[in-house]
């Protein structure tokens, strides 16, 4: 083959593959027996440590559901990844939701994991009527305002089984007060989740009577926090509160405190569930000790009903559960429960997405390994639970948990 004809061949191959794509885009031959539960989580790169354990939880729920699935039906997980280059990406998320919505077999989706991804996905979910249950989105505005429900402002299609940041931030502020912090310095990673959480903490800690010495935002991909920490150190805080996740700076900030004039054993570190991952222990090293954090979910290990889940999880995935594995599991269960109910109502015939959505909307007293809960008029859990943790001896230690539903 000459060089020129090789060129042509390559170009033609590209075009053929374009046609191939078109072919592949033709509607899949829907095997009527399959009911799909989508997951839409970041499962590659740095975010995989969050996404994979959550996806595993959902996988487990699907596996269990298949043990006693309604006759003629089989559940199947359809896992999609919203990480691009290792970081969760709203655009990818929205595209994923749209492809899931286009597949009639998908009855509901567990996800997304990150709040900024949710902001791009809720409008699509709202338009297509595809139920979305997030195991972990904690940004309050996602549900509490209708601004993301662009097509049908009064229709709720997005739900979450975790407590929101206003609850978590408040719990964090109370926790801080109980720990005896009077003056804190707040740092956040300038991302949707981190900034939101830090702002709530900021306001609540002040209203609890504490004083905030300063509030700074860091930049993504930063390695050097010494200048910032030197500035923080000069204000002599009782503790540093960090709104954000480990990868965007949580781990490194804690680790660099020691070399910036603050002894980590004397100046505690507090954060939200963003630093609840094992990465934090690794990156911060010995400095991780004397840190505290809140998680917008109960500690599954403490709940008797969750023991079976934990055992099954370990058996299947050969690893410990993640902070949101149980939530992923429960979110999938909610969808599966709604599907079961719809099939029953239809007399054994396939359910419609609208039916499933309706059932999910009216979820009440759903018994689960994270307690019994329902969804309120915005799609939020009626039983938000916050668990408080600390890091001691290089391990994450559960302190206690609080149910904030009464307190509001």
């Amino acid at each position: 083959m000459s060089r020129r004809s090789l060129t042509r061949f390559v170009a033609l191959a590209a075009i053929v593959s374009l046609f191939g794509t078109c072919g592949a885009f033709a509607p899949a031959q829907a095997a009527e027996q399959v009911i799909k539960i989508g997951t839409e989580l970041p499962t590659s790169g740095g975010d995989a440590s969050n996404g994979i354990p959550t996806q595993n939880g959902a996988q487990l729920a699907v596996d269990e559901a298949n043990l006693h699935a309604p006759a003629g039906f089989r559940f199947q997980l359809d896992p999609l990844d919203d990480a691009v280059g290792g970081i969760h990406n709203p655009q990818q998320g929205a595209t994923n939701i749209r492809s899931l919505a286009a597949d009639a077999a998908v009855m509901g989706v567990v996800g997304p994991f990150n709040s900024n991804v949710a902001a791009a996905e809720i409008p699509v979910s709202n338009e297509t009527g595809l139920p979305l249950i997030s195991p972990s989105n904690t940004n309050p505005t996602l549900t509490k305002t209708s601004k993301y429900r662009t097509s049908h402002p009064s229709e709720i299609t997005y739900f979450r089984v975790c407590a929101t940041d206003d609850v978590q931030g408040k719990a964090g502020a109370q926790f801080a007060k109980q720990l005896g912090f009077k003056k804190v310095y707040i740092i956040d990673d300038n991302e949707t989740y981190g900034l939101g959480l830090a702002n709530v903490f900021d306001a609540d800690f002040k209203s609890e009577g504490g004083s905030v010495l300063g509030h700074d935002h860091v930049t993504a991909n930063q390695q050097d926090f010494k200048a910032l920490l030197t500035k923080v150190s000069a204000t002599h805080p009782d503790a540093i509160y960090y709104g954000g996740v480990t990868v965007t700076g949580g781990g490194l900030i804690r680790q660099q405190m020691g070399s910036s004039g603050m002894d980590p054993t004397k100046v505690p570190f507090e954060g939200g569930d963003g630093i609840s991952d094992d990465e934090f222990l690794k990156v911060a090293g010995p400095a991780a000790n004397n840190s505290y954090y809140t998680v917008a979910a109960p500690d599954a290990e403490k709940s008797a009903s969750a023991q079976a889940f934990i055992k099954a999880y370990k058996a299947k995935f050969h690893s410990d559960i993640g902070a949101y594995s149980a939530n992923g599991y429960v979110a999938a269960q909610v969808i599966i429960g709604a599907v079961d109910k719809a099939i029953k109502e239809n007399g054994g015939k396939a359910p419609t997405r609208a039916q499933v959505l309706k059932t999910i909307q009216s979820t009440k007293d759903f018994k689960s390994i994270i307690g019994s809960f329902g969804f309120d008029k915005n799609g939020d859990t009626t039983s938000p639970v916050i668990s408080l943790w600390k890091i001691n001896g290089g391990k994450q230690v559960f302190v206690r948990q609080i149910n904030v539903s009464a307190g509001g």
Binding site: C22, K147, T150
Partner: protein
């Protein structure tokens, strides 16, 4: 009017595909697939714009995503609850293109006198500053949350909503217009001036070509295309946030150009189509296939590695790209010491005051 006799088989194939594209939604109703195609179209428009800067005028712009951001934010700020403004989509398409072009001039005017590689770094710096500034200016841009609930276009009373179908046609039309305009530019007085500057800047200046304004025209026209795509992108996604406009967007678009062939419009189309298919379809599909046989490899993770390989391998072995113009091929293959190149370097080293 294209010269039919010069058509190569690939050109005919492209034409046939282009003819088929409007009918695709009749065959494929899958909204997910259409969304993928719309996204691919947005990237193709970006590639057409960057091609004007890099391919036609030979200026390496590594911060192209910044203009994409500016276009997106322009529309987002005036068509969302952010400031309670709800400007109509259609004039804003032009307006955003204009604003992006304006920023092209603002950035270009002081920097285009720089030698080529410095320009690349300055644009890269600009590409880093813009999203960071949007992130920091919370009051105007919503900070990390970005701006959400962006309005969708209406046409003769028909509300686009979030249904990808009308966007699909919108993008097709915009693509056709973009290609038409880009091709016109290429075969015009301005296009010839760009080519001349790319070949030998000093000679071009002596032929009466004002190199500064000519380069500026490339920069701002290129930027205006990203403004267009920004508006479409913002309205379909209903959300703009700073993290959508990082360096990897600029590199993705550059890889499309390099793969297809810098300076060649069919090349740009082929390159951006190929990488979009790879991105949105081939890699995720490969994941699923691997998962089916029980292998859990995340192919999407290797995407940027692949881009890196494309950039290196194509530049080394086929610098004109899969479908480059003959001219570009000869130009980039040039071995041995080219007098013009040497003298250009010399010229660039001249003391400031003596340079144009």
């Amino acid at each position: 009017m294209p010269n039919w006799r010069k058509f190569r088989p690939v050109d005919w194939a492209l034409l046939v595909i282009a003819m088929f594209m409007p009918f695709l939604p009749l065959v494929d109703h899958n909204g997910g697939h259409l969304t993928v195609l719309v996204n691919a179209g947005v990237y193709m428009m970006l590639a057409i714009g960057l091609n004007i800067v890099v391919g036609f005028a030979g200026l390496l712009d590594l911060g192209y995503a910044a203009f994409f951001a500016i276009g997106s934010y322009t529309y987002a700020m005036v068509a969302s609850p952010q400031f309670g403004l709800h400007f109509s989509f259609w004039p804003m398409v032009l307006m955003s293109a204009f604003v992006a072009a304006l920023f092209g001039i603002i950035l270009g005017a002081p920097t285009l006198r720089l030698r080529g590689d410095y320009l690349a770094i300055v644009t890269l710096g600009f590409g880093e500053i813009v999203p960071q500034t949007f992130l920091n200016l919370q009051k105007f841009t919503g900070g990390p949350n970005g701006i959400s609930a962006i309005d969708q276009p209406k046409l003769f009373g028909y509300h686009f909503g979030l249904n990808p179908l009308p966007y699909y046609y919108l993008v097709l039309v915009l693509l056709a217009v973009s290609l038409f305009l880009a091709n016109n530019l290429r075969t015009s007085r301005l296009g010839r001036a760009w080519m001349a500057i790319r070949e030998d800047e000093i000679a071009a200046a002596h032929m009466g070509i004002n190199t500064t304004t000519t380069k500026l025209a490339a920069f701002s026209l290129g930027a205006s295309f990203s403004g267009l795509s920004g508006v479409v992108n913002a309205s379909l996604l209903t959300l703009v946030s700073p993290d959508q406009f990082k360096f990897n967007v600029s590199i993705t678009v550059l890889s499309m150009l390099v793969l297809g062939g810098m300076g060649s419009l069919p090349g740009v189309v082929i390159g951006s189509a190929a990488l979009s298919i790879l991105n949105f379809w081939l890699l995720p599909e490969a994941n699923n296939l691997a998962a089916m046989v029980g292998v859990h490899i995340d192919f999407t993770q290797y995407k940027f590695m692949l881009y890196g390989i494309i950039l290196v391998v194509v530049m080394l072995f086929k610098p004109e790209g899969l479908y480059g113009s003959e001219q570009r091929k000869a130009e980039l293959k040039e071995r041995g010491t080219s007098v013009a190149a040497e003298e250009n370097a010399e010229y660039e080293e001249m003391p400031r005051e003596t340079v144009l």
